[in-house]
Amino acid sequence: MPPLDVDATVLENRPLSRDYNVLTLSAGDVGAHTVAGQFVMVRPATMTDTLLRRPFSVFEVLRDAAGTATAISILNKRAGRTTQALYDARVGDRVATLGPLGRAYTPPSTGQEAWMVAGGVGLAPFWTLAMRLVAAGIPTTLIYGARSGAELFYLDFFERLGVRLVLTTEDGSRGEHGRVTLPLDRELAGRDPQSIMVYACGPEPMLEAVAHVATRHHQPCEVSVERTMGCGLGGCYSCVVKVQHGTGTPHYVRSCISGPVFDGAEIVWD
């Protein structure tokens, strides 16, 4: 399915906290073809002096009663100028939305459980992934960490879906005090090798730690990386990640088309 460029309208802008919001975009056609883990390149039409689009995981795919995708949302965290504009966006604003792009998460093998590990805004790909996993009847866990309890979002959604939740916060205000790798490491101990598919998304040091923990416990692991991206289509070679297959020579590969989802064991971390 070739990517589409939709001149989308902001249908809703829901602030979740001082820094986070969920922006709903009228890009149902993009949503209809999105597989969990894929992303869109967006650019608010109100931005005049920045040029490049920014990559965002497709967060939710919204559907009408007949099941037809009508919109997508993105989970946005205010950091730079584009994310500020997306935080401030108003209903009716236009946002160019190109997608779906990139490699999706691989489904678990038969008999495997699925554990999704999210850090902060790294929750973004797990709404669609959870929907897919639960629909396939796969026992699913979300290990979700944030700075504080106030930044743990959509817990109701995952609970209602029947996803087992394990929460951590850096300030101890909710769930376990510390990082997601603590419960991950503890709970993976003693589990059969190759019995749990670990999916991770979040800051890169977290991805590295999760990949190491998974490998140490002989569990497969896929991570979704976020590198500074130029085009999202493989044109510019900006977003490269160093990857090593087996014992071969490590090479830079483009995370937009060879990723953003990679086998965690194959990434050569900086």
Binding site: D49, R227, L233, S238
Partner: protein
């Protein structure tokens, strides 16, 4: 469409003047889902050396006002893999393939060109003597009149394909380089490559990209690039391929009026991979509005008579 958008570069005829800029369109095939490669005037692929190159460590780009700075470091698969893996597919898609040839020595430029010529199915050779991001190769030839002439002469001897040295804007008098290229037997020149640039992260006091320096592209450079194309057009008779910050038909027409026979689009393709059709339609609209039958009639049609004062 009755209007004729075709242009000629030496012996090469292109159905329209739009060519993808090297390094901004991968090897072309990355874009086949969103662009009909045969509908472009030409597809210029990422710079190629004899052997594979890894490029610089990321971060490789930073966005700046109306532009971006890049230091990719010419990551690439090398000419042998290109000929084996990419060229046959590009040919099948009907693309007119421009190859951006790199070298660390004059011999390497000639050898890469010879291999491409022997392979067949390449439309033109663009000589990258202007990449600001790598220490060895390229720019040291492009910043010397003698070096520019030597690379062109050496390549000229090994190919019948159009030879198009790509000029750097990081010199005082770019037109003298166009002249050196013409004198050495170039069929055309292309310009501009990126402007050497620096963006500092004031919080950390560190560079924003690993290579420290990079090349500035995008709309920010366009007026300087148009000026340089105009200067070259007055200096040489060979065709000029103009580029630098083109995002729409008006931008492309500025270059054509300044004297460019064809234009390349780089950074704008990152922002909008569907830019090609929009620019082409816009040029066609302009021609209809101005009753121009052949695009070639617009090449160099810039009239430097001062503008009329507009009274409000």
């Amino acid at each position: 469409m009755a209007r004729d958008l075709s242009v000629r570069i030496g012996t090469l005829e292109l159905p329209n003047p739009l060519i993808s800029a090297s390094g901004c369109f991968g090897y072309g095939l990355e874009y086949e889902d969103v662009t009909d490669l045969s509908a472009l005037g030409g597809v210029c692929v990422k710079g190629l050396f004899l052997t594979e190159r890894e490029g610089h460590a990321p971060p490789r780009i930073v966005e700046t006002p109306a532009g971006m700075i890049n230091a990719i470091g010419l990551q690439g698969i090398g000419v042998h893999r290109f000929v084996k893996e990419k060229l046959p597919l590009l040919r099948e898609r009907g693309a007119r393939v421009f190859v951006n040839v790199c070298g660390t020595t004059i011999d390497e430029y000639a050898e890469v060109t010879r291999i491409l010529t022997d392979a067949g199915g390449v439309a033109a050779i663009e000589l990258n003597i202007s990449c600001p991001n790598i220490k060895e190769g390229g720019i040291q030839f492009g910043c010397s009149l003698l070096g520019t002439g030597q690379v062109v002469e050496a390549v000229r001897k090994v190919t019948h394909l159009p030879v198009i040295p790509k000029l750097t804007p990081n010199v005082t008098d770019v037109a003298s380089f166009a002249r050196a290229a013409e004198d050495a037997g170039a069929d055309a020149v292309s310009l501009v490559n990126t402007f050497l640039a620096l963006a500092i992260d004031v919080e950390t006091r560190r560079p924003t990209i690993t290579n420290v320096l990079g090349g500035l592209s995008g709309p920010a450079i366009r007026p300087i690039a148009v000026r340089m194309v105009w200067e070259c057009a007055r200096e040489v008779k060979i065709p000029i391929i103009g580029m630098g910050g083109i995002t729409n038909a008006r931008d492309a027409l500025e270059f054509i009026l300044a004297g460019a026979t064809a234009v390349q689009i780089g950074t704008a393709n990152f922002v909008d991979p569907f830019v090609w059709g929009k620019v082409l339609d816009g040029i066609d609209d302009y021609m209809a509005r101005h009753q121009v039958e052949r695009l070639s009639d617009l090449i160099g049609a810039f009239d430097p008579t001062p503008p009329k004062v507009v009274h409000r």
